[in-house]
């Protein structure tokens, strides 16, 4: 027991060190975050100057949520790169990866869309994104991970939208920040878990940042357009 408690911090220190190296995929996580962030900001910038700028009250109404949507995808996408780099995981790890990815990718978009478009559309959107990303990451261990991603995306999407609608008149913005910070911690913990489980394994796939950029662009584009121009429930006018 004493051994374990002294071992844990050193493993985490190793992980922190790897974040600064370029030997393993962990050394690319920050770069992936930056690529995703920049891609999403470019998409939002183009949308803003072509479509959104003319919308009355756009910034006060949607600015806060769009800002967090961009950050949301930036914290989720590095884990996709990390999972793809190792390709195959043991069932237990793969299930945890599918569940975490599906849950966070469902909850946060569901939460932000729910706050602007209502519970039904927030749920539908959150479930769609959560299920797709949950399956994508969960398939690294086969059907069990796929099932886990599917279920977590389903649950996260519903819960995210429901939570935001219930908090609409009760500090929704503060709640958004709290929820986002917790999600950042969870995604970082997932990155650490993947490192811990796979540190003795070789990297299987070394790829460019094309998937990072493409995924960020597609997700940000769809989410922003859905949030601003998409359907909404009656109470959101």
């Amino acid at each position: 027991m004493a051994n374990k408690s002294t071992k844990e911090p050193s493993e985490f220190r190793e992980f922190a060190k790897e974040l600064n190296e370029s030997r393993r995929v962990e050394g690319e996580l920050l770069k992936t975050f930056l690529y995703s962030l920049l891609s999403s900001i470019v998409v939002i910038g183009i949308l803003y100057f072509t479509v959104f700028k003319s919308i009355y009250n756009f910034i006060p109404k949607y600015g806060f949520y769009i800002f967090f949507v961009v950050l949301t995808y930036s914290i989720i996408i590095p884990s996709i790169r990390q999972v793809r780099a190792y390709k195959r995981f043991a069932c237990m790890s793969g299930m945890m990866i599918g569940m975490t990815s599906g849950m966070i990718a469902g909850f946060l978009p569901g939460f932000f869309i729910g706050a602007t478009n209502g519970m039904f559309w927030g749920s539908v959107f959150g479930m769609s994104v959560g299920i797709i990303l949950g399956i994508w990451n969960g398939k690294s261990c086969g059907i069990m991970g796929i099932m886990e991603g599917l279920m977590a995306g389903f649950m996260g999407g519903l819960m995210g939208a429901m939570s935001s609608v219930m908090m609409l008149n009760d500090n929704i913005r503060a709640a958004s920040i709290v929820v986002f910070v917790i999600s950042v911690v969870i995604m970082f913990a997932l990155n650490y878990m993947i490192y811990k489980e796979m540190k003795s394994n070789e990297r299987q796939l070394k790829e460019s940042q094309f998937i990072t950029i493409a995924t960020s662009v597609v997700l940000t584009l769809i989410t922003a357009l859905f949030m601003v121009l998409g359907p909404r429930s009656a109470i959101f006018g």
Partner: protein, 162 residues
Amino acid sequence: MKNIWMIAIIVVIIVLFGAFFIRGSDSLSPVKNVLSSGQVQVVKLSVENGKYVMNPSEIRKGVTVRLEADMSKMPGCSKTIVIPSFNVRKSFTSEDNTVEFTPDKAGTFNIMCSMNMYKGTFTVLGEDGTKASYVEKASTSGTTGGSCGMSAGVSGGCGCGG
């Protein structure tokens, strides 16, 4: 060392992006009480049989309305009202049970709780007192007159604060 620069760049980008997109978001606060000046129509709001009841149910266009909620008859999530047509959104408490707004169009409009469970309607008459033919389309989602899975007329909550 290279990561310190990357982190610094990320922080700067987030701060700049955030400063641009979050500015002015305070004006989004859901309730904007209109200061009453001159004539004010006082309307009592309560929930009866799972529906919002406004008394009187007819108000005049262009005249400020002060909606006073009877908190003893406002169970669960009915305390948070939404009137989409006039951009009114308010959570009543026992200390703050009024909201003011000025109807700028005539017709029959919907009032609902923020979860679209409790519903009701009220009529805005024209400035000359005539009734307009416009009727706002009622939302089809939610339970009619119910209260979050409870039978009509039963007071209580819905797992959302009541």
